[in-house]
Structure formats: structure tokens, C-alpha cells
Symmetry: C2
Subunit: 154 residues, 2 copies
């Protein structure tokens, strides 16, 4: 008997993100999607490890998706390690060597090249962890009690 | 026309928690329920304010519920301000004066007595914020991708 299928995320980038998030979870990292560390920058995945490590992962579905990203170098300033997540067909020679590489599909992922560690300064780390915590908790409350977000509640 | 009712939380403590969480949300605090700052201690609500303030709120449905709590003084060590949340019938004379007081129902809440501020030391604040962030993000991922939590995913 075949179990009820869980629907795949519809977009290629979302599939890479799901598999990568599962990998990070298996490494005891807590993962948040679509995080905005600073106005104008939004990362696909940010994870917080058990010792406070902050990793950022950008998911790229193909050459055009990578070429269109003119902001990625800005992400380096908001994490200790930076990775790309791509599928098996992606032309990895495009990717800068000093970044990490994750091969992913919707069901899982593996680290092909560990990213170098460039540790955040203390004040920025505290800010990112605080913003991460607040973003995650606000999303949880929005799911559990949508009315809390209606204007006028006090 | 009457809108479809959103079901009330079934337990009195959960109703207090929902209303209190709405109050905290309106004060720009991000709220997490049922948080364990350290093994053996679980708080009903913890919130993280925009400047990193950490507040803890214990919800008490009545005299017996308060009297049964032998751990509350331990919570003081994990927040900058500590509050009780109770309904309008609660005998507030039972509550220690040096703690905050919130009057709540399922729909909202108000601060009746602000808690004194006893600021956490820096290292503990960083630890609580990190644990808060990780707990919230893990719960979000469990909701969005339950299969990420099945043993063996890697």
C-alpha cells in the first residue's frame, strides 16, 4: 500500500529549500526560511546551530537564477558560513570557490563543499539571533492565533 | 450576520495565555509558549521585545493553580521582568508584590502592575535568546515539513 503523498513544493527553489532544511535539521540546526537580516536583503534559508553558528543558504534553480542575483555578496556579512544549494544539473563552475556548496532535492541534501568560516562580530551576532528569534515567534503566533495580528487588538 | 466563531482554547490557562500573547504582540513583543529555559523549568509564555527585553508570564487559573506552583521563583532567573496573568476573579492578594500582574481573558489583556526590571547578565541573555530562536524555528519547521522530523532523514 502506498502512503498518501505529501505534495511537493511547486517551485524548484522551494524544493531545494525543503531538502536543504531537512539536512540542516539533521545537523541540529534550527532553520528559518525567507529571513530579512536587514532592509533590502532577504535570504532563502538561515540556520542557527547548537553553539550559535549562523549559516545562510541561497537556493539557485539554474544558471539564470544565479546570474540574476546581484545581492549575494551582501549576505556574507550576516552569517558565519555561506552556502549555495543547487540540484545535480547545476553548472557548479559558475559558483565562487570561497563559498559553500550543497546539493539538494526536495527530499534531502548533502554538503559537497564546506563553506569557510568567517565569524560574525559579537554585536551583529546578537542582533541577528534576536531578529531570528522574533521573526520565528511572530510567524508561529500568526499560525496559532491569526486574530492576534488584526489591527486594534490590545 | 455573525462571523464563524474561532474556537476558544479549551483550558482556562490557555485562554489566559492567548489573551496575554495578544497583549504582548500589541507591544511589539514576539511571544513563545511553553518554553523550557533550562531542564525542569517550563514557562507558560516568554516574550522578546524589540530591544531584546525578555519577559516571562505564568498564567494562573485560580488559587489552587497558584498554590501548586513550587517553581515560580526559579523563573525569575531567566527573564528581565516576571508577570502573573490571571482573570478578574483571581484573589490577587495571594501574589507577591515584587512581581508583575496582567489581567487577561481569551481575547486580550492589560498590565495591572508593571513588573520590576532585574536585567539578565549578558551571557545568560545570549543563551536564552539563542534557545528561544531555536525552539521557535524548530516548531515552525515541524509545522511546515513534518517529515523533516522523522528519524533517518539526512
Amino acid at each position: 500500500m502506498i502512503a498518501d503523498p505529501i505534495p511537493l513544493p511547486p517551485m524548484p527553489g522551494q524544493r531545494l529549500a525543503r531538502g536543504t532544511a531537512r539536512l540542516l535539521r539533521s545537523m541540529d540546526h534550527a532553520v528559518l526560511t525567507e529571513f530579512t537580516p536587514v532592509r533590502g536583503l532577504r535570504v532563502d534559508l538561515i540556520s542557527l546551530g547548537p553553539k550559535g553558528e549562523l549559516w545562510v543558504v541561497e537556493c539557485k534553480s539554474g544558471r539564470a537564477d544565479f546570474r540574476a542575483d546581484r545581492k549575494w555578496q551582501g549576505y556574507l556579512d550576516w552569517c558565519d558560513r555561506y552556502f549555495w544549494a543547487v540540484d545535480g544539473d547545476f553548472p557548479v563552475d559558475l559558483l565562487p570557490e570561497e563559498t559553500g556548496l550543497i546539493h539538494a532535492d526536495a527530499f534531502g541534501a548533502a554538503i559537497t563543499r564546506m563553506a569557510p568560516e568567517i565569524r560574525l562580530a559579537g554585536a551583529r551576532r546578537v542582533k541577528v539571533q534576536r531578529d531570528f528569534a522574533r521573526a520565528a515567534a511572530l510567524r508561529l503566533q500568526a499560525l496559532s492565533d491569526p486574530q492576534a495580528f488584526i489591527a486594534g487588538v490590545s
